[in-house]
Symmetry: C2
Subunit: 217 residues, 2 copies
């Protein structure tokens, strides 16, 4: 059984944590998903108080580590002296993903050697100021590390994660329960296009995004 860690902190963006929590939480045979935080309870950006399931260091043993976001939450977490030192991640053996502003954590952990990523449109300038090439697309991935931007974009990296750990059938099975009624084809096309975009870009003359390598056949 795979072990998936969702990393959160005080003032996390509600939907960015809860979307992946719910999509992944419907399956308890292929993986176990847990919310990790520095405290036993966390407070969301909109004021919900939720429990955590383990300390941040548990992320180091997970098969996949998904960082949530937070306009105020990410800078506050990065400013805490214990936060970054909790992590000793290895993108050779772990899948790592950020949504929206969580990309700044990946950057600080040295997980973006390509210096190319995406984030929430409102956070673009902050990321560019760090010297990153910020692409205007919902999913950017390089080998085992993916960044995503825009809350509803969570379906793309979550799909990427499941397809990387298992296969396309498991990805479709995982995302199907959350797709709008009567729009399965539209959304599956959107998702598959995004996951394949990296491969097409890589094979083109301009290597924009050396992406999603583990999705290649």
């Amino acid at each position: 059984m795979k072990d998936i860690a969702l990393v959160a902190f005080d003032r996390f963006t509600d939907v960015d944590l809860f979307l992946m929590w719910d999509i992944l939480g419907r399956n308890n045979t292929d993986w176990r998903v847990r919310i990790l935080g520095a405290q036993p309870v966390l407070h969301s950006a909109h004021g919900l108080t939720i429990p955590t399931h383990g300390p941040l260091v548990d992320a180091n043993h997970a098969d996949a580590v998904l960082f949530s976001s937070g306009k105020e939450g990410v800078p506050a977490a990065l400013a805490h002296p214990d936060f970054l030192p909790s992590f000793d991640l290895d993108p050779e053996r772990q899948l790592v993903r950020s949504i929206c502003g969580g990309v700044s954590i990946l950057e600080r952990l040295g997980l973006l050697p390509e210096r190319r990523a995406t984030t929430h449109p409102d956070a673009r300038k902050g990321l560019q100021a760090l010297g990153l090439d910020v692409l205007n697309q919902p999913l950017v991935c390089h080998r085992n590390v993916a960044t995503a931007g825009g809350c509803l974009a969570s379906v793309y990296p979550t799909g990427w994660l499941v397809e990387s750990m298992f296969d396309a059938d498991k990805r479709r099975e995982t995302l199907l329960p959350v797709l709008p009624a009567g729009q399965r084809e539209i959304y599956e096309d959107l998702i598959e296009f995004r996951l394949r975009q990296g491969r097409e870009q890589t094979s083109g003359s301009i290597k924009i995004n050396n992406a999603c390598g583990n999705l290649l056949p």
Copy 2:
């Protein structure tokens, strides 16, 4: 300031509550959004414990009442003798909306006189067994009452709600922060198409969905 009530109960489907909570919670000048429940704390289907902000009866004074869902949560809520009697809703002065299985609450409250609705694909048969015409589309609305199906479909009735209370600009402003990076046009087209679908169906020879009347100019 408008008052929006999100009705929840134990074993609510996490994302169905949290998506509308987050999308609507980003605005605290045009409306106030609160989670109402029969208990001070509720447990989600996937085991999160969250606080509520008021009792169920507060829904009766709200401008908009949004029912969440829950495969086990909705039947359990309906079986509780105090649940349905808490509500005295008036669709003439209130906007009412359900997502996925929450439609059963609307049916029990007599809010679906047209006997036409939508829900999560997995809940279709149960709703058909009640004698409802269940359409295979993410949003079905009749005057001030809307039903939606499939977790990510939340953007449609949430957009419908905001556009009904304010206008299309406020709806776009409200949904923009959650749209995937680089896909604003795709998602806005999807949302606008869905909100207009009712009008087009109404004007056609087959009056499938006398819908979204308050969105008409």
